[in-house]
Structure formats: structure tokens, C-alpha cells
Amino acid sequence: MPESLTEIVRNSEVIVCCGSGGVGKTTTAAILALEAARMGRRSVVVTIDPAKRLADALGIDELSNEPTEISGEWPGSVHALMLDTKATFDGLVRRYSADEDQAEVILDNNFYRNISSSLSGTQEYMASEKLYELAEESDFDLVVVDTPPTRNALDFLEAPQRLANFLDHRLYRILMTPTRGIAKAVNVAAQAAVRSISKVVGADVIGDAIAFFQAFEGMEEGFKDRAAHVNQLLSADQTAFVLVATPKADTVAEAGYFADRLSDNDISVRALIVNRMQPVFGTDDSGHPLSPAGARARATTLGGTAIGDYFTCLADARQLALGEAGHLEGLTEQIHPAPVVPVEVQPFEVNDLEALTLLGSLMVQPDDPAVASDR
């Protein structure tokens, strides 16, 4: 029998929330961490966005790169932190440099400073690094991580290796090393390329890049090793990838794309959380006067009256709910047997702990896991 979301929250060591932007990923990640604390676990949630509102909702001033405990009435504990890409990268450089001097040279290098702000995939890489750090080197039972809101959110899986390859780039060797034979031909061409590029983007920036790779010499093995470990953790059984979506056609399509990419990496979706579902008012029985079409027909007949407005309102709601259910069918099948957890739009803004708690009780039911899996 497939696990329910409740069991995932109870048993996993890592939960990765993926999905496109605007589907409530950050909030969902926080809710899952809170629910784990309610089960008596020590959890930590890592957010990627500067989620000021989440900090407010959790009752803390500001999220930083180090875990801040959230106070509340629960048997376990929950911490939250916001990923600081540069600080995390700096930490890695310090960890793998041979000595303080090597670290300083790298940290001072212009090219290095650009890496954390501009190299695509770095944020994903540091998110997974932070996750690894928290999972392996702290005493949290569960790390919940929110992923960057890009279409390539699954760069998350490939970023460590890609970055390791990038850092292993022997740009300076191409330029410096005397060469022979076939390698020489390649190098001459590459040197010519680098020279032409220097003309376009400026010699000093290329100089910075070369200096960086020189300074980095010797550290790439450490980084590669680390990347391999991070990947191992991400594909481990105790790591659960949870898809977060809304029931709109386009985000459902994106979620399907994420599920495909995950399965390309031999990772299965463990649960799908669908936020912002339209509440269903009435039945689907088309003979019933309150079917979507029935309600719409009554609305038309009664147009211009107050009760007509009531029927319009119901017809709008029913029509939306029906469409949403239709979009989710294919995705539900695609991720089968993983559970689908629908969460209705609430008649309030989700901006405090009370609201997070209420949503949590809709996603996770600590007392009766069987019920949650059936929903």
C-alpha cells in the first residue's frame, strides 16, 4: 500500500517540495515541517524565496541562513531558515580549501563573487548542499526544502554535478599548458577562442576567471565528492519528492513535466499536494437541478433577480470545480500510486500560524494515517 502524506511526514528524513512558481510551495513546505513537529519530530524548513510573509506567519522577525526556532505548542521542534546562496558557497570553499590563504584568494576573486549571484544552477546547488548539511550534520529528524521557482526546478538534481564539472574547468590549463599532438590542435583552437572572447567581453574579466580556476586547483575533488554524496541523499529512500501544484491546466501540465523529469532520474513522486482547489458545492449528478449545467440554466432563467445571482455564483463554482477535477485526472494517473492531497481555497488569507495549522490539518492527519491516504 502506498504511503499517505502523513506517513511521509512521519517517516522521511528529507522532503523536497517541487512545483512551478505561485502554487504555494514555500507555505506548503512550512506546513509539512510544522506537522512533523506536531508528531514529535525535530524538523527544519529551508526556504529559497525571501519569504517575509512566511517569517511573519511563523512569528519570527527574519529568516537567516542559520536555523531559527519557531516557538509553539508541539511535542517536537521546528526551525526555519532562508537559503543564503553566497554564505553557503563560502562555507564550502572554506571547508575544502587546503588552508586559509587559498580560501581567502578564492573568496576575494571577482569571478568567484559572480558565481553565487549569476551562475545558473548555483542556487539549486546550494539548496541541495544546505539540505545535505542539515540532514547529515545536524540532529534534525526531517529537513523540508522548497525548490527555486523556475521551470528548471529539477536542476536541483543535476546542479551539484554540473557545478562540480564547471568548477573542474581547466580554462587556465587551456591557456597555460604547453601541448603536443592532437591535444595541441584542440588547445590552439581553444586559445584562439578565449582570445576572441576576451576582445568581446574584456581581458580583465577573463583574467579574473583564469585566476579563479588557478586558485581553485586541488579543491575540485572535494567538491565532486560532496556532489556525489548530495546526489546519493537525494535519491535515497528516506528522501521524498512531493509535487505541489494548483488545479489550473498550465500548472498541472508543469507538474506533469516535473514528474517526468523525476522519473528520468529514477525518482518517483511520493505525493501530490494540490493547493487552491475550488470547494465543491453540490453533486455531480447531472440530473440534479444543481449540476453545473442545471445551476447555469436556473441562473439564466432567473437572470436579473437576487436568486439568479445565487444560481450564477453556484454555477461559477461548480463549473470551476468540474474543470479542475478534469485536469487532475491525468496527473493522478501519472503519479499513481502516490496519494493526491487536495487542499481547498480557504475563505481567509494564509498569513498566520493559525491558518498554517488549519491547512496542515487538511493535508496531514496525525491520528489516522489511513484516512489521509484515502482522501
Binding site: 512551478s20 512558481g21 505561485g22 525571501p50 517575509k52 510573509r53 569571478f111 559572480n114 558565481i115 549571484s117 549569476s118 551562475l119 521557482p149 521551470r151 564547471f166 574547468h169 580554462l171 581553444a190 584562439a192 577562442a193 578565449v194 576572441s196 572572447i197 568581446v200 567581453v201 574584456g202 574579466v205 577573463i206 579574473d208 488545479p247 489550473k248 491546466a249 498550465d250 500548472t251 501540465a253 470547494p279 458545492f281 453540490g282 437541478p289 444543481l290 432567473l302 433577480t305 437576487a306 436568486i307 439568479g308 445571482d309 445565487y310 450564477t312 455564483c313 453556484l314 461559477d316 463554482a317 463549473q319 470551476l320 474543470g323 479542475e324 485536469h327 481555497v345 475563505p347 488569507e349
Partner: protein, 326 residues
């Protein structure tokens, strides 16, 4: 503000907003509105998303222009294409005699190194390409479906950052040109999109001030997507409303109708609060687009959104409109 002012000739409209607010649908509706007003319009999709094409029942877009709305008596035509940073960078290098080595640039990872060595170069080249498309004059209006809002700021700021960082050479020239484009109110406007909910509204307000202060771009009307139409009847009691209209409610119907109405009114209360807050915090004209009670945007929905945009733009023109006097 007239349709002409919102869409002057050879103009760029950059559409930005948080994920999930319907930025792509708004871009498409703006394009249809412009096309109806006689402007040949090109949507430039930077996010590489598939949703734009599917709204028009088309296959996935790529960097070749694809017609979405054929020119006709009513339409000047809408086409669309994608524009990715890597395409723009390769295009740029190719234009400088480096075409031969462009494949090697990718396979050796040198492209990544260049982009890292010159932060913002991808963004600046994308904007540079946009400028080139504007200059080509093949279209009357370019609608740029920009990256999600947080990134939109760094995206648009890349020009001033680079113009400062790189003092000479072709990159400097490129950055300066892009800066000119962005700050030329006659040519370029940014339209921010939101939905009437707390977080997206906060983000919009923040983005608006950052863009104005840090980038110096001109902000066009704010588009608020997903406004629930008012149903005045929901305020009366359901049973008296029924008997007033001489209709009978079946068992349980009254409860269902009330529940649906109560839910809608609660969402509308959130909406009204956020609309007020936005109007008070941000002195920009607003274009409001109705919520579409469908989970899938297609051509009929886009046409309806375009209708409401047209109405909204007309309203901005009339001097007695409270939103139009800004």
C-alpha cells in the same frame, strides 16, 4: 490615457508579475487588444513556458516567429516567439565573428564561464535582442512576457549594473543602448500584473518601487487579474430572494446556494481589501480583469479578457473616472 498611449507605435511593453498571477494570459490578452487596435504585435516569451502556445491551441513555441492570430479585417495579427539567454548570447557572439566556435563554446562550458565572468550579460543580451526586434520595425508592438517578478528586477537592472561595471567595449555599448531603451518612456513601459491577494499585491508594490527607483523605467497601468464580478443579489437572504422571484427551492438547495455565496463573498472581501490597499499604496492607474471561471485559458477566455481590457482602457481615458486622473 488612450489605447494609443498604452500602445504607442514601435513600443515595448514588458509584462512582469509573480508566478501564478496569470502573467502569460495577461500578455496574450494585451496582444489581442493591441491587434484589434490595428497593431501588429509580437509576444516575446522569456520564460520558455508552454502555456502561451496552448492558449492558442498551438504547439510549443521556439525562437522562430509563429502566428497566433492571423491578420484579418479585425486584427492586425499576433505572433509569438521565445527568446532564451543562451540564444541571445550565441547570437551576439556570432555577430562578432565568433560564430564558428559557438558549438565549442557550449560543449566546453566556456559559455557558462563567460556568463559568469560578466554577470547580467545574459539578461542584457536578451534585452539587446528585444531592442533589435523593435528597431527592425517588423512589428508595431512587442509584448515581453518577462521572468517572474523577483527576477524581473535583476533582469531589468542588469543594464545599469553592467554599464557601470564594464566601462568600455562592446558590452558597455550594448548595456548603454539597453538602458536608453528602458528609460525611454515613448518606447518602453513595464506593466505589472497581480491578483487581488496579499502576497502578490505586496510583491507588486515592492517591484513597482524598485523598478522606478533602481531602473528608472516608466510604469504603465497595473493589471489586476482575477477580479470576481460583483453579484449584488448575494447580500439578500436566499429564501426571500427565491420567493421574491416566485421560484421554489428544493430541499437542501437553499443551504448549497448559501454556502457557495458565503464562500464567494469571503473571497471577495479579501479581494476588496487588497484592491483598496493597492490603490492606496501605489498611485498607478489600474486595469481590472475579470476572474475566468475556468481552470484552462483558451481563445474565448482571452477574447473576454481583451474585451475587459478595452473597456478598462476607455475608462482610463474618461476624466471622471477615479482611476484615470493619474
Amino acid at each position: 490615457m488612450s489605447t494609443g498611449q498604452l500602445f504607442p507605435d514601435s513600443q515595448v511593453l514588458i509584462v512582469a508579475g509573480k508566478g501564478g498571477v496569470g502573467k502569460t494570459a495577461v500578455s496574450a490578452a494585451l496582444a489581442i487588444t493591441a491587434s484589434r487596435a490595428g497593431l501588429r504585435t509580437l509576444i516575446v516569451e522569456l520564460d520558455g513556458k508552454v502555456s502561451l502556445a496552448s492558449m492558442f491551441d498551438e504547439e510549443v513555441l521556439d525562437h522562430d516567429e509563429q502566428t497566433l492570430v492571423e491578420p484579418s479585417r479585425k486584427h492586425a495579427g499576433v505572433s509569438a516567439r521565445t527568446l532564451t539567454p543562451d540564444d541571445a548570447l550565441l547570437d551576439y557572439l556570432a555577430g562578432r565573428g565568433l560564430k564558428r566556435i559557438s558549438n565549442r563554446l557550449i560543449s566546453t562550458g566556456l559559455l557558462d564561464i563567460i556568463a559568469t565572468a560578466v554577470p547580467g550579460i545574459r539578461d542584457i543580451l536578451v534585452l539587446g535582442k528585444v531592442k533589435q526586434l523593435v528597431r527592425s520595425g517588423e512589428q508595431d508592438l512587442l509584448i515581453v512576457d518577462a521572468p517572474a517578478a523577483g527576477h524581473a528586477i535583476s533582469f531589468l537592472r542588469s543594464a545599469s549594473g553592467l554599464a557601470d561595471a564594464v566601462k568600455v567595449g562592446p558590452i558597455h555599448t550594448q548595456a548603454t543602448e539597453v538602458l536608453e531603451l528602458l528609460s525611454d518612456q515613448e518606447i518602453c513601459q513595464v506593466t505589472l500584473v497581480t491578483i487581488p491577494e496579499e502576497t502578490p499585491v505586496n510583491e507588486l508594490i515592492q517591484t513597482a518601487y524598485s523598478l522606478e527607483e533602481e531602473v528608472g523605467v516608466s510604469l504603465g497601468p497595473v493589471v489586476i487579474n482575477g477580479i470576481h464580478p460583483d453579484l449584488a443579489g448575494l447580500c439578500s437572504d436566499v429564501h426571500s430572494a427565491a420567493s421574491e422571484a416566485g421560484t421554489r427551492l428544493l430541499d437542501g438547495e437553499g443551504e448549497l446556494l448559501s454556502a457557495a455565496a458565503e464562500f464567494r463573498l469571503s473571497r471577495q472581501a479579501i479581494q476588496d481589501e487588497q484592491l483598496d490597499r493597492l490603490a492606496n499604496s501605489l498611485p498607478l492607474p489600474q486595469l481590472r480583469m475579470p476572474y475566468q471561471f475556468t481552470s484552462e485559458m483558451g481563445r474565448p477566455e482571452l477574447e473576454r479578457l481583451a474585451n475587459s481590457l478595452e473597456l478598462g482602457i476607455k475608462k482610463l481615458e474618461s476624466p471622471d473616472s477615479p482611476m484615470g486622473d493619474n
